[in-house]
Amino acid sequence: MSIDMSQFHQVFFEECFEGLEAMESGLLSLDIGDIDPEAINTIFRAAHSIKGGSGTFGFTVVAEYTHIMETLLDEMRDGRRQVTKQAVDVLLGSVDCLREMLTSIQNEEDVNAESVAVHQSALETELNGESSANTQPNVVATPAINTAPSPIQSQEEDEEPEIEEEQGWKISFCPYLNLLKTGNDPVRLFRELSALGQLTTNVNIQDVPDFNELDPEECNISWDLVLVSDASESTVREIFSWVEEDCELELSPLAKPKKKKKPKVATPVSAPTPAVVETKEVIAPVIVPPPTTVVKKASSESDSAKNAPKASSSIRVDTDKIDTLINMVGEVVITQSMLGLIGENFTMDKVGQLKRGLAQLERHTRDLQQSVMNIRMLPISFVFSRFPRLVHDISTKLNKKITLKLVGENTEVDKAVVELINDPLVHLIRNSLDHGIEMPAERIAAGKPETGTIELKAYHRGGHIVIEIIDDGRGMDKSKLLAKAIEKGLVEESAIMTDKQILELIFMPGFSTAEQLSDISGRGVGMDVVRRNIQSLGGNIDIISELGKGSTIAIHLPLTLAILDGQSVAVGDETYIVPLVSIIESINITEKMLNKVAGKGETFKLRNEYLPIIRMREIFNVKTGAATKPNEGVIVVVEGQGALCGFLVDELLGQQQVVIKSLEANYRRVEGVSGATILGDGSVALILDVPGLVRLSVC
């Protein structure tokens, strides 16, 4: 009978986090002046699912907490309460708090009771402050949030006296036969009820058929419940809202209270009453465990919970994509059996057929590969959706007026890229917010609209995804950048630099032009890390900036980290793969184009530039093979670390897509090598790390 619920936890958490995101984006898009009831509905539904789910899984703290949010939202939904900016902020705060709670529970850590209490009381203040003053004593005072009295009070007050008279509810709960099939469990309902007060259940089993006629999937039992509680009728009905359509439900107030009146609380959440449950049952023992409280005394280590969240390793995939995949697999199987048939009684006259079959197999395999890669593709909105909140929070903090425009959120990119691009993007957006966009007064003085705009744009170009962060702020002052760099000793005073080089100074470690540090940015660590992170993803980052008009930061990233277009090159009798993206061109050179530098280093002249030559044979210590002179081999001109460089290899072998395998998984990092791949003949070839090699040769 007992099912191990923990196997569903992961799914539950994912759904919760999705729900929270939905709530967050819903709250952020709420226009205080003109409320869209559907928007509130969406937020309410998300809260309700989280509450229901956490109740089912026994995360009482979460359920209780969400319940207060829900109550607040319910009143907004019914128009009983005005939506104020303050209420929205409180709700946003509670979304954060909920997320924290769920993360703690997911990591099997203690929930930070203090922060929950603070948010909870803020919510309660928000809830009660507007309804009636006499509930105030039960509320923990919070210093941070003041509640402005709202004109809408009457309805709540009307309900109050009623509640005071009633001590509980007599509930007749007759589920239809199909209740269990809809996935509802009466036990869960009772557990929620018992959280409201003292619950007595009485089971009616007269409708239960003989054992041999019994269908275990049908619910033949009905219940008479007595709930001693000060909960309002709507609160009780709320619990049954999931099964409304699958049962007959009658609620009547209790005539004679069994227990002494409890102090009135607007919502029973702050102090859950230990449930006393008496079950009189004959068949199917229904055991309602008392609600367990997960909250333990808060410790100061709550931050560690945020720092080490368990990485989610599952992925949600469109059914369409899976269907395509299944289709492709079907095709492959058909082709394979066709080839098998040809092979069984093979004669030379079937060669044509065989060739056709192989060509087909090749095509299907490629398609199959494509479809599998597609499964890993996620829309970039997974990252983008977090930014409205960030912009909202920071712009409020900085007293700036900023709108965020998202373009191309549905652009798809590999899951690994999605996961790794988040931090760099957060950093760049913070920079735009802090340094880019000016204060409103400054903007008006500069003849710009008061509200600044940050545009976050994603699109595909070639085999890359491009993410642009465009702001219409003050732009970067190149002369100031250069002065700062000279002052910090990062560049020589006499250095001649192009505009692009000057702008790229901001990627140097320890470079910051911010006049004062803030907790948002300006510490000078960051841009170099951003660039390094992006480069480690195989991408690059560009800046265009015009003083007074704004800046554009463009990030180019490969669509996937699992497959790469490579050029195979031979060095001696070894094969290496050079990523095609870093190759500019490949040329044969003559002795005349060569120049020695200090007797050792070699350069060659490519059009008007002198490029250093890296002899792969020497740097990789290859002992076999013959070509030692540059003119016997091929120079592959590559770009790494922003500099051009020529790799001397023996021969170009061919271009192909290679599957990237980690060398570190079983072995370790090797200088100048970014990974390995398996060639068509089953042997292993190493993939060159071009920027790393350029660095290696310089040192």
Partner: protein
């Protein structure tokens, strides 16, 4: 008689599994795979042995110590091959199709790694009473005994039991070279 032996072996095997899982001292018999390097005999915990393969050409990895021969494709995984004979400077490395590669698993939990070690030949599976294992004497600075778990004598021959995790920790392997 033979049936009895088989039963005993089965029990041994079961106990070994338990010991590997709990790494406790409850079982007294451990099975080792013994192999020969030059004229010396070594043993590794048989539960760490994934498979035994014949030598096949490797792809060389540049700028690594000479005994790290390179990497091979083992059913889609890139696996490094280390020549123990060269590592211990024991015999002249010759590579023929009869050269043996023992594929070993190191680490535990989510951090397992697979590596192949080249040996002269694989000899036997030996069952050893835990109490029969003698700790390795200190050889001073001449010979490092950090990979050696203990010594055991089988049929008058000395077998050195290797600690796979320490043996294949490349960083430890290498620091002795520089």
């Amino acid at each position: 008689m033979s049936e009895k032996n088989e039963n005993e072996n089965e029990i041994d095997a079961l106990e070994d599994e338990n010991s590997a899982k709990k790494s406790s001292d409850t079982s007294t018999i451990i099975q080792y795979l013994s192999f020969v390097l030059g004229k010396e005999e070594y043993g590794v915990d048989i539960l760490r042995v994934q498979e035994i393969r014949s030598w096949e050409p490797v792809s060389r990895v540049p700028n690594v110590p000479f005994y790290e021969k390179g990497v091979v494709n083992l059913r889609g995984a890139i696996v490094p091959i280390i020549d123990l004979r060269e590592r211990f400077s024991l015999s002249k490395p010759e590579y023929t199709p009869l050269t043996v590669v023992v594929v070993l698993q190191t680490g535990s939990g989510s951090h397992t790694r697979i590596m192949g070690v080249v040996v002269d030949s694989v000899s036997d599976v030996i069952s050893i009473e835990r109490t029969d294992i003698q700790s390795a004497p200190d050889f001073g600075t001449k010979v490092s005994n950090e990979f050696i778990n203990g010594l055991v004598s089988v049929n008058e021959r000395m077998v050195m039991l290797l600690d796979v995790d320490k043996l294949l920790l490349l960083e430890t392997l290498e620091q002795n070279d520089y």
